[in-house]
């Protein structure tokens, strides 16, 4: 089974039509990858679907790097189990 990290990077790469090599845990989604608020909103939907969670907080406020996304999702998955 793919790790959360792999899935998150796959989704971001897919959403922004980028190569996975351009994305690591330190990558800032808005500043480094040029994602705008709609891109991020769309990514949140993709994360919700992929991990079967619901992200209610305004994610852009709390999350800027890929690593933070991974951590956030892992914490949600652990909280649910």
């Amino acid at each position: 089974m793919a790790s959360v990290k792999e899935d998150v990077i796959n989704i971001i790469a897919d959403q922004l039509a980028l190569s996975k090599d351009q994305i690591n845990e330190e990558t800032d989604i808005a500043n480094d990858l040029g994602a705008d608020s709609l891109d991020i909103a769309e990514m949140m939907i993709a994360f919700e679907e992929k991990f079967d969670i619901s992200i209610n907080e305004d994610p852009a406020e709390k999350i800027s790097t890929v690593g933070q996304v991974i951590k956030y999702i892992e914490s949600r998955l652990n909280a649910d189990t």
Partner: protein, 413 residues
Amino acid sequence: MKPRVVVTGLGHVTPLGLSVDRVWKDICLGKSGIRALTDELYLGFRSKIAGRCIDFSPENCIEPKDIKKVDRFAQFALSAAKDAVTQSGIDFSQENPYRCAAMIGSGVGGLSEIEINFGKLLEKGAARVSPFTIPKMMSNAAGGHVSIRYGLHGPSFAVSSACASSNDAISYAVQLIRHGVMDVVIAGGAEAALTRLGLAGFCAMRALSERNDEPEKASRPFDCDRGGFVLSEGSGIIILESLEHAKARKAKIFAEMLGCGALSDATHITQPDEDGTIASSAMQNALNDAGLNCEQIGYINAHGTGTILGDIAETNAIKQVFGDFAYKIPISSTKSQLGHLLGASGGVELVFCIKAIETGIIPPTINLDNPDPKCDLDYTPNHAREAKLDYILSNSFGFGGHNSTLIVGRYKD
């Protein structure tokens, strides 16, 4: 004196292809762009034929990461605008952006986006609706994207008058330049309503041809055996600028926009007035605006969709304006080749009118084998004709009772 308005670039996306010169050749040869819809999505539809832009690929005009953010109709507009801008040679980085605008009409807007996301809403709930739904579906998205692409700060809204949208958008663009408000306007229309909902809606109106076994023969304006129009998609965009501006940058001038006339039937939301009285007044207004008399018009590009009421109404309207001369003017409907591009049709047809002036060819109305006795004018049946054309009139009519006529002429210094 009001600034003269000239055309310096042409671009389109059509079911017969994207290259203006190649499509024009095919139109004159009488080739049809109508094909069967074989996808199982259309099982059970009464009409299973359409003019789909199969050659179109958004990669040629949009960055990969942005493709999913732009609905098909706005993708068409970006592609047609790119070709028109390239041909015009205009470099917007050298222009005053506050004097450059984008007027791009659409009758429907991003219908596929609505359809896809309504499906998600029903199936998966509100939280799964894409954040791009609204910015993709809005009918002004085409103008918005074109303004962003070229950095134009002039107005960039959509004119929406169903199948008259392009002509009304171009009319408005002409006024902006004539009144000295803008120097350059990217103008025309774009439409991509060839979706299940779009097709089903027109089917329900019994507006579409159901000649499913002979797609290329299905669009037959003015013919007794017509059964409605064929739904199609695409975009037609031209670059309009003031003559002074075009001359200052030594642009090649293709034609001059001479007259615009638009009036509303104010009778029924879909049915045209059978006498064509208001449509005839719109044509007369365009002639007056151009300062031309009837006998100077060398060709009429008809709205001619292939609906019984519409074809007869337009024929009557032409007779009211042109009197006996109506029988001497070559008319044709290029919808016989392409089907009906709805809000994009006027833009594509104006491109054809300009090519007609340039090449001296009147395109045919194909599939006109058995003319309706109530349509007794010269619709240039089945074969193109050569003629020296100085002035051409192009009609577009739309649901809502919109009648919009443009007159374009050979540019003379």
